[in-house]
């Protein structure tokens, strides 16, 4: 929300505040809007899964929806990790469904209720970074557990010429270490960029209507048409980012399990 008319402040929507107006620096245990929206996302996931886990012989619509979610993720892990992928399906499913639900929750037009500001949990680097670090820890732990120091052969492809070995090792090591950052950065920047775009063009609509001139109304109309299209694109991006995060996490786990 713009603080004053005509001034657009797109970063305000990502600010973490204490719910009920407490101070953030008093104690580390503050119930923030981020925590509140994580609880909302969690209860939405719980409702969704609970409605579909009745184990009826002939699945209804709801159960079919939940089953298609689960089958999608388990098919993804099985095809990218192989027969051992079943062990890692729970983690991949957890991050996939958490990301897709929190992305969609942040897109919901709940702000038409006064005083309610939707908060996209995945637009914070701490949240996406935590999920990326946990996926990366699974890669490291599984890799060293299964292969011991053979895990380092991951950084040397077969048939590397001896003079090139140090260089290739260095490059592969760097590309391996950058993975958690790129994984986390992609999701959070995609969410931030989309919400900034929506905020800026939403403000164009409001400011154009407030200006009271024919030009202002024209700008408002064009911005409104544009923002409807961008909203549809953002819904697509929400799903794609959740899919890409889960897919890349399972591919990285595949590296640790099967060592290419």
């Amino acid at each position: 929300m713009a603080a004053e008319a005509g001034k657009i402040d797109p970063m305000h929507q990502f600010q973490i505040d204490a719910v009920g107006g407490g101070a953030l620096d008093g104690t580390p245990f503050v119930f923030t809007n981020s925590a509140l929206w994580m609880l909302v996302v969690l209860s939405a996931i719980f409702l969704f899964m609970w409605g579909g886990m009745k184990r009826e012989l002939v699945p209804g619509r709801w159960q079919a929806a939940v089953e298609s979610f689960v089958e999608f993720v388990s098919g993804m892990t099985l095809s990218s990790i192989g027969s051992e992928g079943r062990k890692y399906t729970p983690w991949i499913f957890t991050i996939f469904i958490f990301i897709i639900f929190s992305n969609f929750m942040g897109m919901m037009p709940l702000a038409i209720i006064p005083g309610l500001h939707p908060f996209t949990v995945t637009s914070q680097f701490t949240i996406t970074g935590l999920m990326a670090i946990m996926s990366f820890s699974i890669v490291l732990i599984v890799g060293f557990w299964k292969h011991g120091f053979h895990f380092f052969t991951l950084f040397l492809p077969h048939g590397t010429p001896a003079p090139l070995m140090p260089l290739i090792f260095l490059v592969e090591l760097i590309s391996f270490l950058v993975r958690p950052f790129s994984l986390a950065l992609r999701l959070f920047v995609a969410m931030i960029a989309g919400h900034i775009l929506l905020e800026v063009f939403g403000n164009f609509i409001v400011n154009g209507l407030n200006s009271g001139s024919a030009l202002g109304y024209g700008v408002s109309l064009i911005s409104f048409v544009f923002i409807v299209g961008v909203n549809a694109l953002e819904l697509l991006v929400c799903a794609i980012q959740a899919y890409v995060f889960a897919l890349l996490a399972s591919l990285y786990i595949n590296d640790a399990v099967n060592l290419h």
Binding site: M11, M76, S79, S80, S182, L185, R186, V189, A190, I192, A193, I240, Y243, V244, L247, L248, L251
Partner: protein, 75 residues
């Protein structure tokens, strides 16, 4: 040139990277469609690779965006 003007120019220059990444994303999907229309039977099996290429191309544009934001708000 004062600092604020330099910041805004720098952020604008960083935004070029976002546009270039859009060309990359278009190339990924265009090449996939070219291949998929020639051999539609093999297309569905390659969707994972399509999205890996998309993610790699998109990441660089998002990094350019992050650089622009850092220049504008953090420096």
């Amino acid at each position: 040139m004062d600092l604020m003007a330099a910041k805004v120019i720098g952020a604008g220059l960083a935004a070029i990277g976002v546009g270039v990444a859009s060309a990359g994303v278009g190339y990924v999907f265009g090449s996939f469609l070219q291949g998929a229309l020639r051999n539609p039977g093999a297309a569905d099996g390659q969707q994972g690779r399509l999205f890996i290429g998309f993610a790699a191309a998109e990441l660089l544009g998002l990094i350019a965006f992050a650089v622009a934001m850092i220049i504008l708000y953090a420096v």
